[in-house]
Subunit: 292 residues, 2 copies
């Protein structure tokens, strides 16, 4: 495994690999790697000849009062993690090299960046799109891997790839959860034992939504209402949003139809957590089509 800090060196290596006809799988991360990242790395290794993992806590996607400074950076642990998984390259650039003096150009994602998490994190998805885009140009992957946990991010990046004619394929891997149901997140390390227990109401509310839909409920307003009631029953959890939107456009839905993204964000103490599920009509066994 090689550990690359220099932007230009990474770009040269990737160009050389591509000239040799090697396929490159890319897992962009902010480090603090967990089993969620692992599933991306394993898939990248399976699909490609070369696997590159980037570790970069991207300042331009954090708001002024967000957790950029305290975001976990266990770089030694992350390196061992990648080594064990036979990652070929870790790309670990410095902030000043990614955003040198005079940096100005941003990738704007339009209204899809202003809904859901964008409501309380203005500029977040512009920061995400810009860094992912820069990383794509540096690493030059054939396929890039993202987790479904950051659902809005995956939708926006897929849109960006189409809109800007990027020649990279996007693969989205399912959310990994603890047995309790809690979605894996680098930010879970912020949680106290009590908060960790409080947080279970989030995945619980998504289970509730799925069950309501399976029982025939189609009104998004009613489903969201019941989810909010469940979450609000725990006074230490403050909802940022609970929403049901079209998976491709992120536009709010009135009725459950097509592919729906049910997404939420909430604060528990100082920690902001997100979670989501996708529901869509699928034929299960011999039974008629179900939303699952």
């Amino acid at each position: 495994m090689r550990f690359i800090r220099s932007v230009s060196e990474m770009q040269k290596i990737s160009s050389a690999l591509r000239r040799q006809g090697k396929t490159i799988g890319f897992v962009p991360t902010m480090g603090a790697l967990h089993e969620g990242h692992l599933s991306l790395i394993k898939q990248a290794r399976k699909d490609n000849q070369i696997t590159v993992v980037s570790i970069f806590v991207n300042p331009i996607q954090f708001g002024p009062n967000e957790d950029f400074k305290r975001y976990p950076r266990p770089i030694k642990k992350d390196i061992s993690f990648c080594k064990k998984e036979k990652v070929d390259f870790i790309f670990y650039p410095q902030v000043g090299k990614m955003y040198p003096e005079g940096f100005k150009t941003m990738v704007e994602v339009g209204e899809m960046g202003n809904v859901l998490c964008g409501l309380t994190r203005p500029g977040h998805f512009r920061g995400v799109a810009t860094v992912v885009f820069k990383l794509f140009n540096i690493v030059q992957p054939d396929i890039a891997y993202f987790g479904q946990k950051d659902a809005q991010q995956t939708v926006i990046i897929k849109r960006m790839v189409v809109d800007l004619n990027l020649g990279v394929k996007i693969k989205v891997m399912p959310i990994m959860r603890e047995k309790s149901g809690l979605a894996l997140s680098s930010r879970n390390s912020y949680l106290s034992a009590q908060e960790r227990s409080d947080a279970l109401v989030l995945s619980g509310s998504l289970d509730l939504a799925r069950n309501l839909i399976r029982k025939g409920q189609r009104s998004c307003r009613k489903i969201i209402g019941q989810m909010k009631s469940l979450i609000n029953a725990n006074p230490s959890v403050r909802i940022d949003y609970v929403d049901i939107v079209d998976l491709d456009t992120l536009k709010p839905l009135e009725k459950i139809r097509g592919k729906c993204l049910i997404a939420l964000a909430a604060r528990i103490g100082k920690t902001r957590l997100i979670d989501n599920i996708i529901v869509q009509r699928r034929k299960v066994g011999d039974s008629p089509y179900f939303f699952v």
Copy 2:
């Protein structure tokens, strides 16, 4: 010479050429080709194994009251022009294929897009950066060629290439002028004989500025003042702006120093024309350093 309309076909051809180790020179144009474009094409042919010219009147860089509809589109003439110059590929995409339904992602260029031409053309440089960027991803050039006439565009695109880690080199070729001094432009075709004569005051004012600087004038305010007086002496020419800015940052200068861009835009009848010169200290022969 091959004539390509399909975005995906062009992208495939370029990928294949790059895999073969061929160097690609790219001249992005809006068509209505003239001697200015010719100098770009000639340079591209000289520097690269393959030359691609794109012809695309890009709707998203035109404002609602601008000349998108009436912009000249002499495609047959342009094809002969390229054939004669031994261009390898003309890429001539359709608007609906470049901006399919649901298109949202834009490349934002920051404050550099809000000065000079950006003052009266809000969103223009976002549109330019976005299309150039898309074309780069489709054509995948080693070197792309732009004319100094669109000075602000060249500065913004150079900035974008650095900021977004694009692996393309930008070459800027000098402005081509008629003997009269009028800068070549596809929009000159809009001018009547009288307007064409009126337009000469624009390059005239730039000559004036250069002469003032050669004589030792260093105050930008005074130079701009004299240029405006000269232009305003012709009542059929309406100034959009006359400005002197730093060539790298486009920030206004008080004193002539470093590399200065002296740029202007003006309306003559319904036609908006731009022109500029760069002045910088250079040693000329045995004489001391001059601004030229």
